[in-house]
Point group: C2
Chain length 391, copies 2
Amino acid sequence: MRRVAIAGVGHTDIMFDSPKTEVEMFAEAAMDAINESNLKPNDIQAINCGNALGDFSEGQGMVQSYIADDIGCFNVPATRFESACASATLGIRDAAMWVASGQYDIVLAGGTEKATAMGTPLATRTFAMGEDSRYDSPSGMTFPGFFAMLAHLYCSRYNIPLEKLKEQMAMVSVQSHHYGVNNPHAQFKKERTVEQVLSSFMIASPLQLFDCCPFSDGAAAVVVASEDVAKKLTDKPVYIVGTGQASAGKMSAQYKYLPRIRAREVSVKQAYDMAGLGPEDIDICELHDCFSIASIIAVESLGFADFGHGGELWEKGETKIGSKIPVNISGGLKSKGHPIGATGASQTYEIVKQLRGELVDQGRQVEGARVGLVDTLGGDGLSCNLILKAD
Amino acid sequence: MRRVAIAGVGHTDIMFDSPKTEVEMFAEAAMDAINESNLKPNDIQAINCGNALGDFSEGQGMVQSYIADDIGCFNVPATRFESACASATLGIRDAAMWVASGQYDIVLAGGTEKATAMGTPLATRTFAMGEDSRYDSPSGMTFPGFFAMLAHLYCSRYNIPLEKLKEQMAMVSVQSHHYGVNNPHAQFKKERTVEQVLSSFMIASPLQLFDCCPFSDGAAAVVVASEDVAKKLTDKPVYIVGTGQASAGKMSAQYKYLPRIRAREVSVKQAYDMAGLGPEDIDICELHDCFSIASIIAVESLGFADFGHGGELWEKGETKIGSKIPVNISGGLKSKGHPIGATGASQTYEIVKQLRGELVDQGRQVEGARVGLVDTLGGDGLSCNLILKAD
């Protein structure tokens, strides 16, 4: 199998109530990625597009055909990936495979989502379709409820006082908001304090408003190319050296593992093994912080902290730039925003920019970063991971 | 790249108002395919599942995770493909790639759909999401309207009197109903006459009720394996020797080509070229007869008839068993039924059974069939083709 690299990336601003359609947002990000790769649309041999809620938000199924049409990639194979928040990550992983195998040299992969126009109550309910519709969502469980339950289970399993966890969770959000200020694409560019988080509106106890990421509109795209082609297109190829994917299943099937996400452990092990790397090799990580508790359990399953000790990374400042494992320097889903079906591509965009060393001007470059990890959850546990490496 | 084969297949009955959920229907088909392959669920390394409308019909997004869970394939990578009617075909094509590349040895691919519970008016409207939501569906265009327009354009371009085309279209439906009688999985097992078709309720002129396929519930699945593995699992491996896929785009982008579907011509050429075969090598074809006019234009683009002369194949009986190119001997979407996201897997199931010579008892075996073609449209033209070959 051939080595595979990302030759170019593109990203829209992430925002509330974008005036653009999902097709138009994707086209904006895609054309930036295509131009940055010194390509023309005709050079694209296939498109993989993540999209979760377009059927509901715009009455648009199979958006990929109209995306291909819109950016002038006429009649290419275009495929939609729907796996809730992990949609785009699955699309990038699949694109890497088609290129690694030699079938295609250049595949455009990314995601697009317009989640805000339907309003938070309806978005929350439609988004709960990423749970099992036979057992879980009919019980009234939504994702804030799922992660709130998980936070209580976390305290119970590891004998951590809830008040202590809440402070750790607040520190997660405060850091994300801090770095989001300097990300020009971020939805929120506003510092928050621990006190503000702890006094914010209660959503689903113990999760308060500032423990929760927003719904967002936005798109991101990357050009995936074979090593030979990528080297001709850019002097800063970023290699996809490891990928992993695992499904979760209904909550009751996970009961042995919650508050850990078993699928993430399976998925990231595949990625580490494929890359021949381990957590100690990761210089920077974009992980799935849909809620602050999600960040804490993520660093444990990804191998950056012992189980039951994830929150201490934020207490000790070990997730900051210049420290042990810089996490979500983009601002994460919390501050940068969470355009659901595009989120995995947005995370990948950030890691590529970091590994290229292109964020110095934004004041949030992780100096000397060579290896980065993308971590995305879809629904109640489906996981997908990518490991990227600078040349 | 390795040769890839189908080692086992499974298929539910196709029906109106199934008492089962999409997960349960898929599990039924999948377990049949797994058992027929002499495998256990734990042997499955990845799952690709086509599903189009589950978000609306059952409030179930990313159904693939719950499918994996349900059949005991815990934590495997499970991916949903949504491309309207072509969803499952894309999933099978993708599975073939992952196996051909050597990344996986055994992938389960198929589709599931529960389209009837929402009722025909709502299903017709939600299904129209497979058109461009910016330009096409807001005009009131649904798929009966799209294909009705196409029928008029067909008459106009090729100077065929509408009454003559209507008779040809009726013959398409009559043949499909004839063969469907002997398919135990078919939704309709009832002969129809040309007179009955021509006197049926008008849906969208010139398409009458019996020119239109139904909405259906059902699932189908196939086990895709490397040649080496498949030969150990079955003495009748059926090889996937060619695949193709192409996107279409909004209707106005296709104006030069309608009433041809340009994407189909691009897609089937990829499949023929990959297989080193041409239309003259195809012994049997399952094609996308969502409406009777769709069959007529399909045989032209697939290379079985000259443009403007597709309907003559049915007039001359050349699409019947024992004739030039047996078409839709399963009964097709018209009689067998159209479980949208499962249809491509259902077509593949039929071709595999034919190439294995296993339909003698059903009285619809195409004797000596060695090479079969699967043809699926998604939305207003996205196309996917598979060429299958007996050992």
